[in-house]
């Protein structure tokens, strides 16, 4: 997964914004050959109900996702996937993460147990949550800043 420094800063801050609740965002960009180029972060509210479970569960408002899809279409971009935080656990997709995502899709997780870039891990989630395919970890590559 490719992204520049600005994008990384916004992603990190978004995923820490409402700690210790899980934070979330949509990831917008383009497929670039075999890589995913992350170009925009679309911060979202965690609307999981009941609210007291937001320390370990997250949910994106479908209206937010519809708006993002529409915004992307107008700009020839794509919603590549979503990011969320695991305030107190590792940055690996949980069973709930697998069950609730619609693959194939990009999933970025930020753990609260690490700092900096090491806190972020990127995963390509398989199409079928029930399949034997496991999430595949993607390398995160920082692009040089332009302009």
């Amino acid at each position: 997964m490719l992204l520049d420094g600005h994008c990384l800063i916004i992603l990190e801050r978004t995923l820490r914004a409402n700690h210790p609740e899980e934070n979330c965002a949509l990831l917008i960009g383009r497929h670039q050959g075999t890589a995913l180029h992350l170009q925009q972060i679309w911060p979202c509210c965690n609307c999981w109900e009941p609210a007291e479970e937001r320390l370990r569960r997250f949910c994106l408002d479908p209206r937010e996702q519809l708006l993002a899809e529409k915004w992307c279409r107008a700009r020839q971009l794509q919603v590549l996937g979503a990011a969320h935080s695991h305030p107190g656990s590792a940055a690996t997709p949980s069973a709930t993460d697998r069950a609730l995502c619609v693959g194939p899709t990009l999933m970025v997780i930020r753990t609260g147990l690490e700092k900096g870039v090491a806190a972020l891990r990127c995963w390509w989630m398989p199409a079928d949550a029930c399949s034997l395919d496991q999430p595949r970890e993607l390398r995160l590559k920082l692009l040089p800043q332009t302009g």
């Binding site: 899809e69 279409r73 619609v102």
Partner: protein, 390 residues
């Protein structure tokens, strides 16, 4: 009860021949076809979505189909409402639809409800049916259909279309399923989402979404496959892409325990399409405008806030085209201020709604104006019928 009880249901030799291609599918077979015959589906709306829905439900062998619509067939419908034909223009859509359904499947019982679904009649109309298919085109009715289905425990096969985008899902498949209010807890502000009449729709789009709805209904009835319950299917016709979103029931959502006033809930005054915002803006009639344009026009300026493709269809003479989005984003405000300096500003659109929005936006910049009630549609009907209606 779903799948329907097939006790006592038999297929005649004609039906066996008619549905042979279903019968030889292991997933459907004789039992699945009997379930279709034993089932009943209520289709709310017989327009763009309802047309392919009804055609394919009839073709599939659904035993009883109810149709709710109060509208008559219009020429502008025929671009996408493929169940109707030119010979039916001016006649009730439900009659047109019934005739076509019986042409496809004479074994189908077709119940007609030439009425608008309302809080007063919805529970009685919906109650006898196994499934409801929502082919409506307005938010108050969508919430009404949803709530009636929740109260009566009926699956609600939902579809929606706009321009080149469509959505489909199954709400309320069972007590644990999400419903429409889990997707849209509140309606959008009135006028925010244009109708197909104002925004347009590519004709093939409801054909695709309506058939998806019919597919889901068939799957629910026969008990095969995996339905869209818990998933919102998004279709982008321009990119020819399908995507899905997960839908979850919100455990904190207020319980639906009765039907309400949905016009009030959606903030709609029950006025004609495009007129919801016009009430807050000073307006004149098209006949008054005609009188003004027939006299000394040096003291007035008329702007047309429609989109350029609409202006290619027809114009009111003397109007200056300045699309609404240029007014709302501010880029045209200075130009309008200059045009309107020392003059009375009038604004029109197709039906009067967008021009009212334009004037509300201009008022925030200190520019006052008067709306042309009914827009160019009213102009065509009352002043100059050489201007095409669309």
């Amino acid at each position: 009860m779903l799948p329907p009880d097939t006790t006592g249901i038999e297929l005649s030799p004609d039906e066996v021949a008619r549905f042979a291609r279903h019968l030889i599918l292991p997933e459907v077979g004789m039992e699945g076809q009997k379930r279709l015959k034993a089932s009943s589906v209520l289709c709310v709306g017989t327009g763009g979505l309802g047309s392919p829905l009804l055609l394919y439900l009839a073709a599939a062998g659904v035993g009883r189909i109810g149709i709710v619509d109060f509208d008559v067939v219009d020429h502008s419908n025929l671009q996408r409402q493929v169940i109707h034909g030119t010979s039916w223009v001016g006649k009730p859509k439900i009659e047109s639809a019934k005739a076509r359904i019986l042409e496809i499947n004479p074994h189908c019982q077709v119940d007609l409800y030439e009425t608008a679904l309302s809080s007063e009649n919805a529970l009685d109309i919906v109650h006898p049916y196994d499934i409801v298919c929502d082919g409506t085109d307005n938010f108050p009715t969508r919430y009404l259909v949803n709530d009636a289905c929740v109260l009566l425990g009926k699956p609600n096969v939902y579809g929606s279309i706009f321009r080149f985008e469509g959505q489909a899902t199954v709400f309320n498949l069972d007590a644990e399923s999400p419903n429409y209010r889990d997707l849209f807890p509140e309606p959008p502000p009135p006028g925010m989402v244009p109708s197909c009449a104002e925004g347009g729709v590519v004709g093939v789009l409801p054909g695709i979404i309506g058939v998806i709805q019919a597919t889901e209904a068939v799957k629910i009835i026969t008990g095969i496959g995996t339905t869209l319950s818990g998933r919102l299917l998004l279709f982008d016709a321009l990119g020819m892409k399908f995507r899905e979103l997960k839908l979850r029931p919100n455990p904190e959502r207020p319980v639906i325990d009765k039907l309400i006033d949905y016009q009030e809930f959606c903030g709609v005054g029950g006025t004609a399409p495009g007129q919801e915002e016009a009430g807050d803006v000073e307006s004149i009639s098209v006949t008054e405008l005609k009188t003004l344009l027939g006299g000394d026009t040096s003291g007035l300026v008329l702007i047309d806030v429609r989109n350029p493709p609409e202006a290619e269809i027809g114009v009111i003479p003397g109007a200056t085209l300045i699309p609404l989005d240029q007014i709302e984003n501010g880029t045209a405000v200075d130009r309008i201020r200059e045009l309107a300096a020392g003059k009375t500003l009038y604004a029109h659109c197709k039906l009067g709604g967008r021009s009212a929005k334009a004037l509300i936006a201009l008022k925030r910049h200190g520019i006052e104006g008067i709306n042309v009630a009914g827009g160019i549609d009213a102009w065509s009907r009352e002043v100059d019928d050489s201007v095409p209606r669309y």
